[in-house]
């Protein structure tokens, strides 16, 4: 089956099994390896991308669901890594090992687009599906607040 997806603003036609996980198509077919494989069961959030702006776990999303739609990965979030979240991530030195960070940023980007000034409860609820085994959660929350133009440590 031929699948047409607008990936990071560029039309792509993929000749793949329609049930192939979107993550496989992104990483193995298109070479976009910024999105990570973590658990493969939608339990960790490392594979988070946007499908028409909505957060999806690419590891469990069949590529057919993206047919005719737009997918944004960490590579397409902002040119030169200039998204406010990416800048905040760098300024606060958020990552430790870094493996989960693409997923964290993609979920946070969807959150800030929907809620430009989220409360801490809203941050926690939206980010609950993105695990960080290094435990960088306080810095992740602070960076989200910083990107939102809010005080970093206020609760």
């Amino acid at each position: 089956m031929s699948v047409r997806i607008r990936v990071n603003g560029v039309e792509k036609t993929l000749d793949v099994d329609p049930e192939m996980p979107l993550l496989w198509a992104l990483r193995d077919v298109l070479g976009l390896t910024g999105t990570k494989y973590g658990c493969g069961q939608a339990l960790c959030g490392a594979c988070t991308v946007h499908l028409d702006g909505q957060v999806v776990r690419a590891c469990v999303t069949p590529v057919r669901r993206a047919d005719g739609h737009a997918v944004t990965t960490i590579e397409g979030l902002a040119p030169e890594g200039s998204h406010p979240l990416q800048r905040a991530w760098v300024e606060l030195g958020v990552p430790q090992c870094g493996f989960c960070q693409a997923g964290q940023i993609m979920t946070a980007a969807a959150l800030l687009k929907a809620k430009p000034k989220p409360s801490d409860d809203e941050i926690d609820q939206s980010m609950a599906g993105n695990l960080c085994r290094c435990g960088a959660y306080p810095r992740i929350r602070a960076a989200i607040r910083k990107a939102a133009g809010m005080p970093e440590g206020e609760r």
Binding site: Q54, V55, V56, V60, L111, A114, K115, Q125, S126, A128
Partner: protein, 214 residues
């Protein structure tokens, strides 16, 4: 001595006290025994002559599906879905959100697809979402569920015919019989369940007594 106890023993058996899931509704009429994963047919209730009593018995049979964890888990009485036969809170942590579809970043359909995902074991069906809070079934008795289902203010404005249709044919309801992976399905088939619900509606849509259990 034994002769004096016999009437009590007979009453005990007829009341269906031996097996809570397979002996059918409690009452003076014995129903055909079925396995826990089976549903009775409407014809099994024909021996109940009183129409209202038959209607109540039919709902109790249907409540074997309504109260099954596979159905109840997405009818929570709070803002967090349940999962599993032990009805534990959903993991990863997720919440109802403003429209019962989760919150941004953790929408139900961020993970759940339009069908079960075999390799990842993530369950899925069309329009996967929580039931609205007014349709909460966790902790509710069959009578309370019956009253909710009939109440247009708490059933999405549905008439009885729409309730029957929903239970008989809705794809998300139907997921209960095809939950995928090693998950236990609800009893019977959706076709059999639809027939029981239709027979309940046709017999007056009576609700069982508060203490009645299937």
């Amino acid at each position: 001595m034994h002769q004096r106890l016999l009437p009590f023993a007979v009453a005990f058996v007829l009341a269906g006290c031996g097996n809570p899931t397979a002996d059918g509704p409690k009452g003076p009429t014995a129903l055909r025994k079925v396995a826990p994963n089976e549903l009775r047919a409407p014809s099994d209730f024909a021996s109940i002559e009183d129409t209202r009593e038959r209607s109540r018995a039919l709902f109790l049979e249907a409540s074997r599906v309504f109260t099954h964890p596979r159905c109840v888990n997405c009818h929570p009485n709070g803002d967090i879905p349940h999962q599993g036969m032990n009805m534990q809170l959903h993991d990863p942590p997720s919440v109802r959100g403003p429209d019962n579809h989760g919150v941004v970043g953790m929408e139900c359909t961020s993970c759940h697809q339009d069908k079960n995902q075999e390799l990842s074991r993530v369950p899925g069906a069309p329009h996967w979402a929580l039931a609205p809070i007014e349709m909460a079934w966790v902790g509710k008795s069959p009578r309370q569920i019956c009253e909710q289902i009939k109440d247009p203010k708490r059933n999405g404005g549905k008439a009885l015919a729409a309730i029957v249709e929903h239970n008989a044919h809705d794809a998300l309801v139907g997921w209960g019989w095809h939950p995928g992976a090693d998950r236990e399905p609800v009893p019977g088939t959706q076709e059999q369940f639809g027939a029981i619900v239709a027979a309940w509606a046709e017999s007056g849509a009576e609700c069982p007594a508060e203490g009645a259990r299937p």
